[in-house]
Symmetry: C2
Subunit: 261 residues, 2 copies
């Protein structure tokens, strides 16, 4: 299975421009699963929540960005996962959607909002859904979810073989923490971070790139630079993530002692 990420600097406030950018970057590329950054349709900082509201779209695929992703997924016969701003009746969510040619496969609403996101988004209420694409179980995390071990654990315990992790990282710790997340759960992980910088909401942020793909042992299969637009695809055997043995005498699942947690 060919899995990958596209690391780029989303154009602020222009979903159509971002779709074009993504589409051009993926042109002629073959893959089965590709992960894009958090809020790849809109950008990250918004002084005016109304501006973000205008850029939001429903999770059903009827909007500009997810609609375009579905078209792109059909063209590549693949699953695309991207962060986007979800418009729901009760407000906005910092969400990720997985789409293929049939439409939206799964939507995840970010559980752990970071810093000033709390001023823009409702805390996610989707839990940690796992879905199946071509007989492989997939789950999504968004950015700051990395710091809560329960997030990756919940997905892995539900059978996720690949953690798909759109991100807009600004802190230095995630990439190495994801090594632990992959290792402790014996799962692949794809962290798709963005690059570039934004100013707004009283701050100026530099996004830190270094998107990466990790094996169930935490080994790095691909890693992008800190400030390069980068498309990386690697070929993996997702069945490896079904094997929870750890060395000769242990099994990460069978050896858990939930009665003591």
């Amino acid at each position: 299975m060919k899995i990958g990420f596209f690391q780029f600097s989303p154009c602020h406030g222009n979903a159509l421009e971002n779709l074009k950018l993504i589409s051009a970057a993926l042109d002629q590329t073959q893959f089965d699963l590709l992960v894009l950054p958090e809020l790849a349709s809109t950008g990250y900082l918004f002084d005016d929540p109304m501006e973000l509201q205008a850029l939001s779209e429903p999770a059903d695929g009827s909007g500009v960005f997810l609609g375009g992703l579905i078209t792109l997924a059909a063209r590549h016969k693949a699953c695309l996962i991207s962060g986007f701003c979800e418009h729901a009746p009760e407000g906005l969510y910092n969400s990720a959607a997985a789409v293929d040619s049939s439409g939206v496969l799964c939507v995840y609403r970010k559980t752990h909002l970071f810093n000033t996101e709390k001023a823009l988004f409702l805390p996610g209420n989707s839990g940690f859904p796992v879905f199946t694409f071509r007989q492989v179980r997939l789950g999504m995390l968004i950015c700051f979810d990395w710091v809560f071990p329960e997030a990756a654990r919940a997905l892995a315990l539900k059978g996720a073989q690949i953690l798909c992790h759109p991100a807009n990282l600004v802190l230095p710790w995630c990439q190495s923490a994801m090594v632990t997340r992959s290792l402790e759960n014996a799962v692949f992980s794809i962290t798709a971070n963005r690059i570039g910088q934004e100013t707004g909401q009283g701050q100026s942020l530099v996004f830190t790139g270094r998107s990466q793909i990790l094996t169930p042992k935490g080994d790095i299969l691909a890693q992008a630079g800190v400030n390069e637009q980068a498309l990386r695809i690697v070929d993996i055997n997702p069945m490896l993530a079904l094997d929870k043995r750890f060395g000769a005498g242990n099994d990460l699942w069978a050896d858990r002692r939930p009665e003591h947690y």
Copy 2:
């Protein structure tokens, strides 16, 4: 508060010799809390369970090794934490004890046994107790517990400010995973690994040293080499581990969403 570890190669099968070695190494050293390796009294591999049985002792401090540690703790006016083989009516546990001049403060029985330990020890049934020494809350993990995020999490959620982690590590991942453990829980951690090698139970093991002390941000305050006997003491403010804020807008405890885990 002065906290530290003593990394050494325990003498196989000779608790008294190990006590002497520890006592000599700590001579003239001031500390409040010092962590020793897993099974520091006995060594690690035993072809004959009866040999290990003969080296085991009860957890009440009445045996040779814990009795000696209590004397040493009194001399240093400190808390000592060490792995030892615990003799219980129902069998043997791979345990750690915390002692001070008053006796045994707390006993932890290793929850997650590694590989061939399963042939020698009962799985721990103590859960993850937290105890107080000089108004600082402490908790214990033993070696392979590192790979299960629930272990460190359970201690930290009960208020542990310092994870005291006796170990006999032979795999390459623990030291960097403990950076994640400290960071995700905002706690100090002391991993006291051993050095040297042992042969038995059908294998030959080389222990990997690199004992370390980490801050609640996962920064390394002290780290020993891969094969050196090493005593390291650092001065910390354990109150820092009570602050679960993470950047300007988050709190690792308040932002948890247990209803989704």
